[in-house]
Amino acid sequence: MDASLLTIAPGAPEPIYRQIVEQVRRMIAGGQLPSGELLPSVREVAGFHAINPMTVSRAYSLLESEGLLERLRGTGMAVAKSARRARPEAERMSLLEPRLQDLARAARELELPASRVRRRFDQLLEDGE
């Protein structure tokens, strides 16, 4: 995995270590990061995004304690064997749920027609494929 695959938004209310945890969790759940895949070193992530290495370490340690990553002797962090299978769709869907609720609320607050929001969302989903 390359450090550039992580998206860091320093100004977001969510702390940076949580942003990393969430993204790695999603990539593992979605099967994008298969078991055994090496993660970029703390230095690579910190250097690429100009963020504090302690923040990256904190995120990796948290993922390790959840059993999603394992520390390899001398080579860094890799996706754990126990995290091997992509998780079932229902479980992956639950990871997305809070964001969908945020999105729905924002759309209501802006009084946007649902059809238009849906159209744009479909577009975005298709663009990524």
Partner: protein
């Protein structure tokens, strides 16, 4: 907010207690406490005129204060010995010392005074930034002078790095480079860093801790992640002012919403019970919003 101020830590590389300073009778610093834990990157934030530069100059022993004391690497700020000075990298807001010297002359002059001097770093940085080695310092642009001053501060392989608005004169690319350097130095060499800025996004990238100075007073000081996780905006519907909420920091009426917004702090890891009322909700708060709210 006083409960949030960090307690005294022994052996903190930088420590200030009750620093007060008046200029022409006007208070600029009012009983300021500050602690930089070892290995931390502490971002000192505040609006222009909040007293950031005065505080840093007091910490560096460059001005006498009316009350309080500061220690740098265990020695009084006003009486630092050579041992401390060798380990200290400091970049003032407008570096203007030694202006008549050429860049290469300045580095050659300083080098013998610092046992840990890293000439390889100086050479690689001068190449990378394409700074003309034969140009007099006084003839450089403000951004170039700041870059030279930064290279100089980092060349001594400091165990304590103090930067006063380091990004002010730098372009976005140089700024990102600087942040990267600060972050990696802290992570790999264990350098403790204090830097002041009024640009919140710079701070959010690299800081492990935040200190917020407002009108000469230290409003809060805490690990950055704690601040983001412990504070939020609570929206409460209804035009009548809500009763005081546990953990409330500030409040304001929100006419467009038809109610009130409050900034609240978690107690025992929970948001106030009012967040469960119909129509109420908790909204995550960015650092910038938090500062705007508590600085009023």
């Amino acid at each position: 907010m006083n409960a949030m101020l960090k307690p005294h830590i022994d052996n903190a590389p930088l420590q200030a207690h009750g620093i007060s300073k008046r200029y022409d009778g006007r208070p600029v610093l009012d009983a300021v406490d500050l602690t930089l834990p070892e290995g931390a990157v502490l971002g000192l934030i505040g609006r222009n005129g909040a007293g950031k530069s005065t505080l840093i100059r007091a910490l560096m022993g460059l001005i006498e204060v009316d009350a309080g004391s500061a220690t740098v690497l265990g020695e009084p700020a006003l009486a630092m010995g050579d041992r401390v000075k060798e380990q200290l990298g400091y970049v003032p807001q407008q570096p203007d010392a030694l202006g008549w010297l050429r860049i290469d002359e300045m580095f050659a002059l300083l080098r013998p005074f610092y046992p840990r001097w890293d000439q390889g770093f100086v050479d690689s940085q001068l190449d990378r930034t394409r700074l003309p080695r034969d140009r007099a310092l006084a003839k450089l642009s403000p951004g170039e002078r700041q870059q030279v001053a930064l290279i100089r501060a980092l060349a001594v392989r400091p165990s304590l790095l103090v930067l006063d608005e380091p990004a002010a004169a730098l372009d976005p690319v140089a700024r990102r480079e600087l942040l990267r350097e600060i972050a990696l130095r802290a992570g790999e060499s264990g350098t403790s860093v204090l830097f002041s800025t009024h640009i919140v996004s710079d701070l959010e990238r690299v800081a492990s801790h935040v200190a917020f100075l407002h009108e000469g007073r230290m409003l809060l000081q805490a690990p950055l992640d704690d601040l983001k996780e412990r504070y939020a905006r609570l929206w409460l519907p209804g035009n009548a002012p809500p009763a005081k909420v546990a953990g409330e920091i500030s409040r304001r009426p929100q006419q467009a919403f038809g109610g009130w917004s409050l900034v609240v702090e978690q107690r025992d890891g929970r948001w106030p019970a009012e967040a469960q009322q119909p129509g109420a909700r908790i909204e995550a708060l960015g650092l910038e919003d938090l500062f705007v709210e508590i600085a009023e």
